[in-house]
């Protein structure tokens, strides 16, 4: 038997093949890879039962830490509680024949926020941001904190729709309806929390993580922690750079938006916006040309804002007065 020689192309194919999950016997057929996270790979797969394409998030290897499998299934359960147009819906979850945990979600056509934002104007970016706030506020209303909000975890669809992804670090802070009742939920949540932090690692992404989360005090994390991360996303959208801790926020051309970012990213939770909705409210006010709660403007700034808000009307009135004056002067001559 001749020894095998593997060409470059064959090597690449084998590398992909060896890493691929085994879907034999499952309802899914692999169609390609969509992306990779820290613990899992997201594949494009075909759901043969419902005849539709799905995003299949599969843990890396059966040999991997069993806590990760629990985390993925937990993410699926959290997502199942959140039916909102801004939150990616989960279709199915379980274990593949090769022992890997998986979670089937809606296949989102689009790009990550950090990529999508490049081609957008400031106003379009702020409108996207409002949709992110809306999804997060909805999760908060259901008692769920995301805890890992960042541009990489937000997908922007081809029609401008926004989907918040990766709820693997989410924390349930309030009682939810079925399937997890009362005390059992508390126990489950405690166990999940222990599993999530078992290795002593602080979970989340440093640039977007509030101090109370990075210090590891789980009980101190509340919806204002997500507000901090949203402030980071807002800053990223306005500056095209990830936020840096403690640094003064500077945004070209708008002290009001810089103040909103600073308030959202205040080190003390008490100084932040109390909720994602409040933060969104200030951004809406900015877009409408109204004053922000986070910023006390000077008389000159107020005048400039009002002029900007009613620019066309002001110009039309000025045009009328100008024409009237000209006609009067002409008549007197």
């Amino acid at each position: 038997m001749s020894p095998l020689f593997i060409s470059d192309a064959e090597l690449d194919r084998l590398r992909r093949s060896a890493a691929e999950p085994d879907l034999a016997g499952s309802r899914y057929e692999l169609r390609g890879q969509l992306g990779r996270g820290g613990m899992a790979t997201v594949y494009r797969a075909w759901d043969a039962v419902l005849d539709r394409e799905v995003a299949l998030k599969v843990l890396d290897l059966p040999e991997a830490d069993p806590a990760l499998a629990a985390r993925l299934l937990r993410e699926a359960r959290v997502l199942a509680q959140l039916e909102h147009p801004g939150i990616v819906p989960v279709h199915d979850a379980g274990e593949l024949p090769d022992g890997r945990a998986y979670c089937a979600m809606k296949r989102v056509e689009g790009s990550r926020l950090d990529d999508a934002a490049r081609e957008l104007t400031r106003t379009e970016r702020l409108r996207l941001f409002l949709r992110i706030c809306d999804a997060v506020a909805f999760a908060h209303s259901r008692g769920i904190l995301h805890r890992d909000l960042k541009p990489e975890n937000v997908m922007v669809g081809s029609f401008g729709e926004v989907l918040v992804l990766d709820w693997g670090l989410a924390r349930i802070v309030a009682d939810l309806p079925a399937p997890v009742p009362g005390n059992a939920r508390d126990e489950l949540e405690e166990r999940n929390e222990r599993e999530l932090t078992r290795h002593g690692a602080v979970l989340g992404t440093p640039a977007y993580m509030p101090p109370e989360q990075s210090s590891g005090v789980v009980s101190a994390v509340d919806q204002r922690s997500d507000v901090f991360a949203l402030g980071g996303i807002l800053q990223f959208l306005l500056t095209d750079a990830p936020p840096s801790a403690g640094a003064e926020v500077r945004i070209d051309g708008s002290k009001a938006l810089a103040a909103a970012c600073s308030k959202a990213r205040a080190l003390s939770p008490d100084e932040r916006y109390p909720s994602a909705r409040e933060l969104a409210g200030d951004i809406e006010r900015f877009l409408d040309g109204r004053p922000l709660t986070a910023y006390r403007e000077s008389l000159f700034e107020r005048g400039a804002r009002l002029f900007e808000r009613y620019q066309t009307a002001t110009l039309l009135v000025l045009a009328y007065l100008f024409v009237r004056t000209l006609l009067l002067l002409f008549a007197r001559q």
């Binding site: 095998l4 194919r13 060896a18 691929e20 879907l23 034999a24 820290g38």
Partner: protein, 256 residues
């Protein structure tokens, strides 16, 4: 030299904890000739092909010349105990080996050039610059020696894993599993020729088995290949951290 490439036997390895690079390197300097010899065999098996192919691609040598240069490099390494200087805290063994190889080949080339200027003969091809500037013969990867050597090393790992997969299928009397996998993943027909990647249905027809069996055979082969590749990687890395890193690079997966 006794350590010829023909001594490398790509059959299934004995079970048990694999000999890591570190323990292997220690064994190279063993007083016991049998143990030292085994260690050298192991090292040659792992690195002979990557070195030879690296010389072909990076140094633009013919396969025959590359084989001679591989042989002479390893002979000099044994003679000068080059690998005794390896410190795992400073670099991967693969990187260390590649740097030794590049230095050695540069010396050989310089000596050959001197000899040529002095009228002597050499088997080295000295038209490397012409080859290097040839757009078809060069690839992007050739610009990065570390990447190139890693790729050759990885190719050797996968070739060994595939040989072991073939042997494993053969031992269990299920040669069809390997043939199917080879046909599907490498696009090779039973006669060894290259071809397009077939669909599951085409495979079922070609091998006269149900489609579900095609899926099952491929799933088994993928799982087995992954296990064997990880086993080879574990064998050829010096620490758990390096193993994790290599697994991530090779398969894009996190392992513990």
């Amino acid at each position: 030299m006794a350590h010829s490439p023909t001594a490398i036997d790509p059959v299934p390895r004995p079970q048990g904890f694999p000999l890591t690079r570190i323990s292997l390197l220690g064994a190279l300097e063993e007083a016991d000739p049998a143990r030292s010899r085994n260690a050298w065999d192991e090292l040659l098996r792992a690195y002979w092909q990557p070195i030879r192919r690296y010389i072909c691609r990076r140094w633009h040598e013919s396969p025959e010349a590359a084989e001679d240069l591989t042989q002479s490099f390893l002979a000099r390494a044994i003679e000068r105990q080059t690998f005794a200087a390896f410190d795992p805290r400073q670099a991967r063994f693969r990187t260390f080996l590649r740097l030794c190889l590049d230095r050695d080949l540069a010396n050989v080339r310089e000596a050959a050039a001197r000899q040529k200027r002095g009228g002597g003969e050499t088997h080295l091809t000295l038209d490397a610059p012409a080859i290097a500037s040839h757009p078809v013969l060069r690839t992007a990867i050739d610009d990065d020696p570390e990447e190139l050597f890693h790729r050759e090393w990885l190719r050797a790992i996968f070739e060994t894993a595939m040989e072991r997969l073939r042997a494993s299928a053969s031992l269990s009397g299920r040669e069809v599993r390997f043939a199917l996998f080879e046909r599907y993943e490498l696009g090779r027909s039973s006669t060894g020729g290259p071809g397009e990647r077939p669909t599951y249905d085409e495979l079922a027809l070609e091998f006269a088995i149900p489609r579900t069996q095609v899926t099952n055979h491929l799933a088994w082969a993928r799982q087995e290949l992954r296990r064997l590749v990880l086993e080879e990687l574990r064998r050829h890395t010096a620490s758990p951290a390096e193993f994790r890193d290599e697994a991530r690079r090779a398969l894009g997966v996190e392992v513990t």
